[in-house]
Symmetry: C2
Subunit: 244 residues, 2 copies
C-alpha cells in the first residue's frame, strides 16, 4: 500500500486497479466499487480516481456509464494474441528482446529525397536524407524488410554500426529525441524483388506492409519508412475504444 515518492497518485491507483482486474480480485462482468468508495479507500479525491479510471477505460479494460457504474470487461482472445501491437514506439529489438533480433544492412546511403519523401518529411529537394534498407532477423530467420528515410539535419551522426543494433535506442538515448506520434497505414501487397531475395518470398507470397511517418514532440518529422513481412509471419492488432 506504500507509494513510491515520485509516483503520481492517479498512476498508482490505476496500476493497483489494473492489477486487481487481471488477478480477478475485480472479476470480469461485474461492477467496480463506485468512485467515492475508491476515493476513500485510496485516500485521494474522487477526481483523481476518475482520472485513473479514464486511463484504464481507454485501454479497454473497463467501461464507465453515468448513472450506473463501472463495468469490468472480459478478456478477449484477440487481445492476448502475440501479434505486434500497431502502436509501438519501441523498435523491434525492444518488442522481441534484443538477443533474438539481428540486422543485415542492405543499403546505407545519403541521397536527396524524391518528391514523395520530400512531402512526407516536409523537406525541400536540397535537404539530404539517409536512405536505409535493413533486413531484420528474428532468431536468425528473415523477418522484416525495412526501408527507412531520416533527415540528415536531425540525425547528424548515423553510422552503419548503429544500424546493426537498435536505431530507436540510438535516437532516444544518444540524440535525446522523443517521438511525439506516428501515422501508420497498413496494407497488403504483392511481393517485389527484394522480398523474394531477402524474405524468402516466392513470386506470389502475399506481403503485409506497414508504412509509417513518425514525428518528434516538437512536430518535426523524423522518419518515413516501410516495413514488409511475409503474410504469415506477423499481423497487427488495434484496440479501438468507443468514446463519446
Amino acid at each position: 500500500m506504500k507509494r513510491a515518492v515520485r509516483q503520481k497518485k492517479y498512476q498508482y491507483v490505476a496500476d493497483t486497479i489494473r492489477q486487481r482486474i487481471t488477478t480477478g480480485a475485480y472479476p470480469a462482468r461485474t461492477l467496480l466499487p463506485d468512485q467515492n468508495a475508491l476515493a476513500t479507500e485510496f485516500g485521494v479525491s474522487r477526481i483523481t480516481i476518475k482520472k485513473a479510471l479514464d486511463g484504464i477505460a481507454r485501454e479497454g479494460l473497463i467501461y464507465k456509464k453515468s448513472g450506473l457504474g463501472t463495468y469490468v470487461l472480459g478478456e478477449t482472445t484477440l487481445r492476448d494474441r502475440d501479434d505486434s501491437p500497431a502502436n509501438a514506439f519501441d523498435g523491434l529489438s525492444k518488442q522481441q528482446g534484443a538477443e533474438r533480433v539481428s540486422s543485415q544492412v542492405i543499403k546505407f546511403e545519403v541521397t536527396f529525397p524524391n518528391t514523395m519523401v520530400q512531402e512526407q518529411l516536409a523537406l525541400t529537394a536540397h535537404d539530404p536524407v539517409y536512405e536505409i534498407e535493413r533486413l531484420r532477423l528474428l532468431d536468425d530467420a528473415p523477418f522484416i524488410l525495412e526501408h527507412t528515410f531520416l533527415p540528415l539535419r536531425l540525425v547528424p551522426d548515423l553510422a552503419p554500426e548503429i544500424l546493426m543494433g537498435s536505431l530507436y535506442t540510438f535516437l532516444h538515448t544518444e540524440l535525446h529525441l522523443t517521438f511525439g506520434g506516428a501515422y501508420r497505414s497498413i496494407h497488403a501487397d504483392m511481393p517485389n524483388q527484394l522480398d523474394v531475395t531477402y524474405l524468402n518470398a516466392s513470386a506470389t507470397t502475399p506481403i503485409l506492409e506497414t508504412e509509417q511517418l513518425i514525428w518528434l514532440t516538437n512536430g518535426q518529422n523524423i522518419e518515413y519508412s516501410t516495413a514488409r513481412n511475409v503474410y504469415d509471419k506477423r499481423s497487427y492488432t488495434v484496440l479501438d475504444v468507443n468514446e463519446a
Copy 2:
C-alpha cells in the same frame, strides 16, 4: 462566440481551437497561447482548457510539453489519405455513403458456434449464433467479403432484408445497442475460394483481412467477424500518439 446550451464547455473550447488550427489561425509549428490566457479568453477555468487540449493532443494535432508550451503540429499526407480508418464503428454504409454501397447476401444461417467462435464471443456450444456472409459492393464493384457471427440471444430479430442495408444502423437504432469497443487484428492472407469467386481475385492475389471482435458497453461480445478485400482496394490507417 455563443455556446449551445447543452454543449459541454470543454467540447466547445476543443472545437473552437481545432477550427483555429485547421483554418491556420493557429499556424503549424508555432505555440498556442498558454492555458491561462485561453482560460481568460473563453471564460472558463484552466482545468477545463487543459481537458480540451488533452483531447486535441490525443488526436495528434498538438503536443504539450511542461515548462515550454503547446505546439501546433503540421498536417501529414498519410493522415489525409482516404483510407478507411481502422477505428470505425460506423458500418461501411456510413463511411462511404449509403448510396454507393450495396450488399449481396451469400449465407444467412442460424448455427451452433464452433469452438473458435465460442471462445471469441464467450458462448457455450448450445448458444445459437447467426452466421452471415455478405459481399459488399462499392459503386457496384466487389469490395469487401464479410463473414460475421452474432449471438442470437442479443439480436433476436435479424432478417435477410436488414442485411441488404446497414447492419450497424439496425443494431443501433432498432435494438438500441451501443458498441463499447473493438479489437482488430489486421493481416495479409492468400486468397481462398470465396475470394476468387466473389472478389474477382486470382489464385495469387494478396488479400487484406481484418478480424474483429466488437463488444457492447455492458461488456457482452456482440460480433466476431472477418472482412477481406483485394490488396489494392483498401488499407487501414492508425494514429498513434505517444503518451507518457
